[in-house]
Symmetry: C2
Subunit: 228 residues, 2 copies
DNA sequence: CTTTTGTATTCTGTATGCAGCATTTTCTGT
DNA sequence: ACAGAAAATGCTGCATACAGAATACAAAAG
């Protein structure tokens, strides 16, 4: 079941303008997911003919999607030899986390200034939900909510450029973090850091929030360093 | 003279593997330049037929290039209505400068740790050249060297992710800064800041370099705020 | 047996053709 | 004369077709 056509139209016949997504756009999301979830491993060549047939799509929109992902940094374009899924070294991952850390520190500062109370409440809600998942041992949902919280804080900063850069790096790292399974004690530490984060945000304590976010990502490196 | 074919082969017959650039790749650079230099103003629709004919290229590689630029954030894709050159609000520009500031502060720190003496010397050379252009009143060359210096410092940080993010933002801002003409006194101040930067780098003074880079971009906002 | 060269196949890169959507123009009714 | 509808035009989105490059394979030479 990898046909792409099923994704083209929304399943519900709900109101509002019917979704009119372009195929290349759908393909971008689809391929991105395939890369993140490991269906396409690093170093894999993206075979236009084969991949297109597998997804039930012609080469043209597929190529367009690949170009888009290339600019995003998920695939690499080799002249006359197509595209391959980009492989990240340990240093690459460390570099990305370093930049992400800086960006989130900035996001923390800005969020404390710009966030609405409602926005902060949403983060709190996400966090509480995440803690529930943690206690239930549901790693996948925990992981997703974790990412959502970080994205939400960045959103609160109300800085489009920051959100862009953060999203790109987060996407590039998803594949890694998806794999990086941490032990119970480190997991607990991560949850504890998150609690600190939300408290600092609610107090609109810029310095504190920024510090915790930075520390959190330093520790993230510890957690994934073995996986790469 | 807008034919694209002339750019396909390298002019020199130098050694090494002959350049074999794909057309869509060439188009990305070409369109990017057209946007930055104002040949394509914000809000302009990128007409596939017309633009392709003008450049002597068929629609397929052109469309691929546009998708790439869309991911880079220079153009916006409107479903069923093609692509338009993205328009940036004053807030957008301010947001971008804020992020750029943070990134360059980080770059400064890392560069002081990781840079080779030779690398630092190159920045010094660029700076001296820039000062010459400044004294000669050659705004265009000054501007280009200015950008080169910032890029060079980021390169010295030896962090690929940082370089990526920096390049994207710098590209998005080029169009703005290209326009933003500053008065003589502000121009002098900018040059003076650059001098401080290079001195701090040569001394490998992390805190100082970081501070000057940050201040420099704060001032950059002052210089361009009227232009947007 | 190894190396090299010629050939065949496969895949990318580019062009073109066709269908559907958006927009504009024209026609018709009031 | 004006408003609304219908037709016509132009453009995008996707598929297909064709040309050229890269690789794999096989045969021949050392």
């Amino acid at each position: 079941m990898n046909e792409i056509t099923s994704l083209e139209r929304r399943p519900d016949g709900g109101p509002g303008p019917i979704r009119r997504t372009a195929l290349h756009d759908t393909l971008v999301s689809h391929l991105r997911d395939m890369i993140i979830e490991g269906d396409l491993l690093p170093g894999t060549r993206l075979h236009e003919g084969q991949l297109g047939e597998q997804l039930g799509v012609s080469r043209t929109p597929l190529r367009e999607a690949i170009k888009y992902l290339a600019s995003e940094g998920l695939v690499e374009l080799v002249p006359s030899r197509g595209a391959v899924v980009k492989r990240f070294s340990a240093k690459d991952v460390h570099d990305m986390l370093t930049v992400l850390q800086t960006l989130e520190e900035l996001a923390g500062k800005l969020a404390c200034e710009a966030a609405s109370d409602a926005g902060i409440a949403e983060v709190r809600a996400l966090h509480d939900e995440m803690v529930q998942r943690y206690k239930a041992g549901d790693r996948l949902q925990y992981y997703k909510l974790n990412q959502q919280i970080h994205s939400a804080i960045v959103q609160l900063a109300a800085n489009a450029a920051l959100a862009d850069m953060h999203a790109v790096l987060q996407t590039r790292l998803k594949r890694i973090r998806f794999i990086g399974h941490e032990g119970p004690e480190k997991w607990a530490a991560a949850v504890s850091e998150h609690e600190e984060m939300v408290v600092a945000l609610e107090a609109r304590n810029k310095a504190k929030l920024s510090e915790v976010l930075g520390r959190h990502l330093m520790n993230a490196w510890e957690r994934v360093r073995d996986a790469v």
